[in-house]
């Protein structure tokens, strides 16, 4: 496979797989933070050590019998163009930290893009598994498999009282961050989300907009993840998150039912208007595009709009980010030019999708 596909195809192949609860849960992610013993953490290590750490993992993946199972490609950050890195960030395959850092970072990426192993981010190793729909346990089991495989060849920094030792004490213990992306338009429309977010926070979970810390909820997509990494087992952390997500799914469904009963016409009007905007506009800003895409996705879920794939939201939210737009048009774009390109791309995508179906 050519590595170009990582930068040119907006939809990772893992996203196309069927999954449970995928009407509301877009994806599940597990991340494990690990460090090598006998090396300083990326906060303080020297350039030589940084290069050495990448080499250590390169050797692990070369000699390991499992390499073929994942088909890992090594991408060194120093070899990538800024735009390529931005695209990987927009696809959630690497973190903005790794893209911007100067730690000679690297990423081992599986062909299906469901496994991304970051080297020299805040920690020496960040193993990340992505699954469609609500599949946290499946993602955890894959991440554990990868972790066990790597651990056969390297010594992790581990302490029996503190667990896996990480650069930042917020990750120490399991080093596990479990998160799900949820599309919650009805909870937003009925304003219940403002009541729900503080309640979720009290349970030790964090709710964010999709592009990480501090970002707004673009297109009614929320990321929910665990805050605590110490004192609970990996399975318990995942089970706790899972049960909150299940409750949110139930609440979103009942909010949708309530809206359907009380404001059916208004809902229908909103969905079709948004569809109209996406199908016809010539200039569109990302905020408006995200909102309309969210409405259209809800329209698909409610059965108003037929012949469009459910993936349209995940796909276009990624494709209409600045990195992708510029990749798609083959060069840098000014904000106004991006808005034009975004509108064109969305129109094209809607037509293609309709034709296929």
């Amino acid at each position: 496979m050519s590595q170009d596909l990582f930068f040119s195809q907006p939809v990772s192949s893992w996203m196309r797989q069927e999954a449970s609860n995928s009407d509301i849960v877009l994806s599940s992610r597990i991340r494990l933070a690990r460090n090598l013993t006998h090396y300083l953490f990326p906060t303080l290590f020297s350039k030589e050590q940084a290069v050495e750490v990448v080499r250590v993992f390169e050797q692990v993946f070369q000699k390991s019998e499992n390499t073929n199972q994942w088909n890992l490609h090594l991408l060194k950050m120093n070899d990538l163009q800024p735009l390529q890195k931005q695209v990987l960030v927009e696809k959630h395959l690497i973190s903005p930290n790794l893209a911007e850092g100067d730690n000679d970072g690297a990423c081992f990426l599986s062909e299906k893009e469901d496994l991304s192993i970051m080297v020299n981010e805040e920690d020496h190793l960040r193993i990340q598994c992505l699954f469609p729909g609500l599949q946290l346990s499946e993602a955890l089991s894959t991440a554990n498999k990868v972790d066990n495989w790597i651990e056969k060849y390297v010594d992790y920094a581990f302490d029996e009282n503190r667990g896996y030792l990480t650069s930042c004490p917020t990750n120490v213990g399991t080093g596990l961050r479990a998160s799900v992306m949820m599309h919650l338009p009805a909870l937003v429309m009925t304003r219940q989300i403002h009541r729900i977010i503080p309640a979720i926070n009290q349970l030790g979970l964090v709710v964010r907009g999709i592009y990480g810390e501090g970002s707004e909820a673009l297109g009614n997509i929320f990321q929910i993840s665990n805050q605590m990494t110490l004192g609970k087992s990996e399975e318990d952390i995942v089970a706790d998150l899972n049960s909150v997500v299940q409750q949110l799914i139930t609440q979103e469904h009942s909010a949708r039912d309530a809206l359907f009963k009380t404001s059916r016409l208004e809902l229908e009007d909103r969905v079709y208007r948004s569809y109209g905007v996406l199908a016809n506009s010539r200039i569109i800003e990302s905020k408006e595009a995200s909102q309309c895409l969210s409405d259209v996705r809800l329209g698909i879920d409610l059965g108003y709009i037929k012949g469009l794939s459910q993936n349209i939201l995940n796909e276009l939210i990624i494709m209409t980010q600045p990195g992708f737009l510029q990749k798609y048009s083959g060069g840098p774009l000014k904000p106004q030019e991006r808005d034009i390109k975004r509108a064109t791309l969305i129109r094209e995508r809607l037509t293609i999708n309709k034709n296929i179906n």
Partner: protein, 180 residues
């Protein structure tokens, strides 16, 4: 919404700052943002990162700083990486695995606050360490038993247990050598 700076173009970048519960919002257009350079740049958002937030917590927490002051005479910096507590409190990140031992005392109350009262790991153990850890825990328990026998003057049982402990210790050393 119109840009707060030029008051001409539509605002496309929105910033929210919350300091001491006071919320300040800022809305600017991309042009003003890029003219202002670093003020709004991506990397500058570091200022709001979790690490800086942590650093704030560390500096402000009197329990932690007091605790640290008491022992600061003994431990000034990490012998392995040279990280000082002051620097850790500033950047919120450790320099190496040994920092966890070096700063253990001030760290524990801090970990409790971060992790819902927990400061002990209850999760996965790397397979290669697991067998040894199991032995270590067993040895700890047996040594306690041995002490009890001696206190109760049950020397015959104590001698039996002592031999068993020696056997386990030998086993543990052997597995360590194998690893090395």
């Amino acid at each position: 919404m119109i840009c707060q700076q030029c008051e001409m173009r539509p605002a496309t970048l929105h910033f929210t700052k919350i300091i001491n519960g006071e919320k300040t919002e800022m809305h600017v257009c991309e042009q003003c943002a890029s003219e202002n350079g670093d003020t709004f740049s991506f990397s500058n958002q570091e200022g709001f990162s979790i690490n800086n937030l942590l650093a704030g917590l560390l500096n402000l927490d009197p329990a932690v700083t007091e605790n640290y002051k008491q022992q600061s005479q003994e431990v000034l910096s990490c012998p392995t990486c040279g990280m000082t507590y002051q620097k850790f409190a500033k950047i919120g990140r450790f320099g190496c695995a040994d920092c966890y031992k070096t700063f253990e005392r001030p760290l524990i109350p801090f970990l409790k606050r971060l992790h819902g009262g927990n400061y002990l790991h209850h999760g996965k153990i790397p397979a290669r360490i697991a067998s040894n850890l199991h032995l270590k825990k067993e040895l700890q328990a047996l040594r306690l038993n041995l002490k009890e026998y001696i206190e109760k003057e049950e020397f015959e049982k104590a001698a039996e247990l002592r031999d068993h402990i020696r056997l386990l210790e030998k086993k543990m050393n052997e597995s360590r050598e194998e690893e090395a």
